[in-house]
Amino acid sequence: MTGSVVVVGGGTAGMEAAGQLAKAGLSVTLIEKEKYLGGHLREWHHLFPDRRPGDEVLSYLKNQIIHNNIRLLTGEGVEGFQKRGNDFIINTRSGDVVKADAVLLTTGFDLFRSERKEEYGYGIYDNVITSSDLEEMFHSGEIMMKNGEKPEKIGIVHCVGSRDEKVGNLYCSKLCCVTAVKQAIELKEALNKCKVFCFYMDMRMGGALYEELYREAQEKYGITFIRGKVSEVGVNFSKRLVIKAEDTLAGRPLKMELDLLVLMAGMEMSAEGLKLAEAGKLEIGENRFFAASDNHFGSNKSNLKGLFYAGTCTAPMNITETISHARSAVSDIINYMNSDRK
């Protein structure tokens, strides 16, 4: 099989898809704006639900793209693209022009910038961090407060920047509940004296083995789950964090001092993806992610023939789903090359 495909974005979806396309005989150009491939996966120390190291998946993906048919352009952005007849012409930021028969966008997501929830004090108080900051701490093996001490009481806030009309994101980011549970467990393992409290609105444990992990967090690790959205964070005289929530099940307001607060930042359509959507007149959905041409059987197809999507640029997804989605994109692309394009 012959033909050329440009894959924009070298994260999980992009790498998997590039590898599969190359194996099918297509020549692939993989463009990644960062120096390194791997995208957000590189930030993960351990993955849920089985807590295997993120690096294992990363090295699988790296193996995938070792192929003669793949040309790598890292540290390179996409400025825009045009479709002339059936051909795509992609302009890169450094001025290169790449021609392709099909395009696959795997531009992924941006983490919600938690400063935007000012009342949670991210960027204002030292010991308010995000889930991604915490993964980094896990990486370095040093989980501590700004002053170097080990935190003894840790709070986790669910749904930061997701399911929140105030920041304009009405959707659920789907992964943060299980991330919270995973991180709570890991915190408990790392600092076994500490107490961990999760503040949630709903526990969305829909994935395989998630509910089991939730149960384990309660039974084995003694994590406390409190149903109530945190309304605001402050500090007291001794500079300890104080959070306010309502314990909705007890029906009373609840105040709690904490050493460390972890915000489960949600996923948002990436700025890069939005730019491409604007440049290429691609449809976006109400949640600002790319709108697939059909929710059930066209989740990889766009409103432009020959341009496909895979991964979290269409909706929040976990790694498993992202890899499957990338593979289904590959099969759509192959079909397109074989029949539709001709």
Binding site: G228, K229, K244, T248, R252, P253
Partner: protein, 114 residues
């Protein structure tokens, strides 16, 4: 000590079918965003009144929806209409107007001045 057996107490069940839903219908018509509340408690957590008394806007919301108006009637005038709650509500419920319209509803349907 709880007294039971000696005084007549109302059953604890919410008698949904016999409860009066005219108040909640009135509110939902005049402030449709009320329907979107998911009882997350963010409003009552930030509420000054809620931190001093047994007043909880979240509880008021759910009681209204179940038709348990008597309990709401007693509490609702404690709201200062300050609007903090509407700044934090993740569902975009126009909470101040819920309180305002609820007061109106009580005035209208059972001539109860609030």
């Amino acid at each position: 000590m709880e007294k039971f057996g000696f005084t007549l107490t109302k059953a604890r069940v919410i008698d949904y079918d016999r409860n009066d839903h005219s108040i909640v219908d009135f509110i939902m018509e005049r402030e449709p965003s009320f329907k979107a509340c998911i009882e997350c408690g963010c409003c009552s957590a930030t509420c000054t009144t809620g931190n001093f008394t047994g007043f909880s806007l979240r509880e008021i919301n759910v009681l209204l929806k179940r038709g348990e108006n008597d309990q709401v009637r007693k509490k609702i005038k404690k709201c200062m209409l300050c609007g903090k709650c509407s700044l934090v509500c993740p569902r975009g419920v126009n909470t101040r107007n819920v309180v305002f319209v609820a007061k109106q509803a009580f005035q209208k349907f059972d001539n109860y001045a609030v």
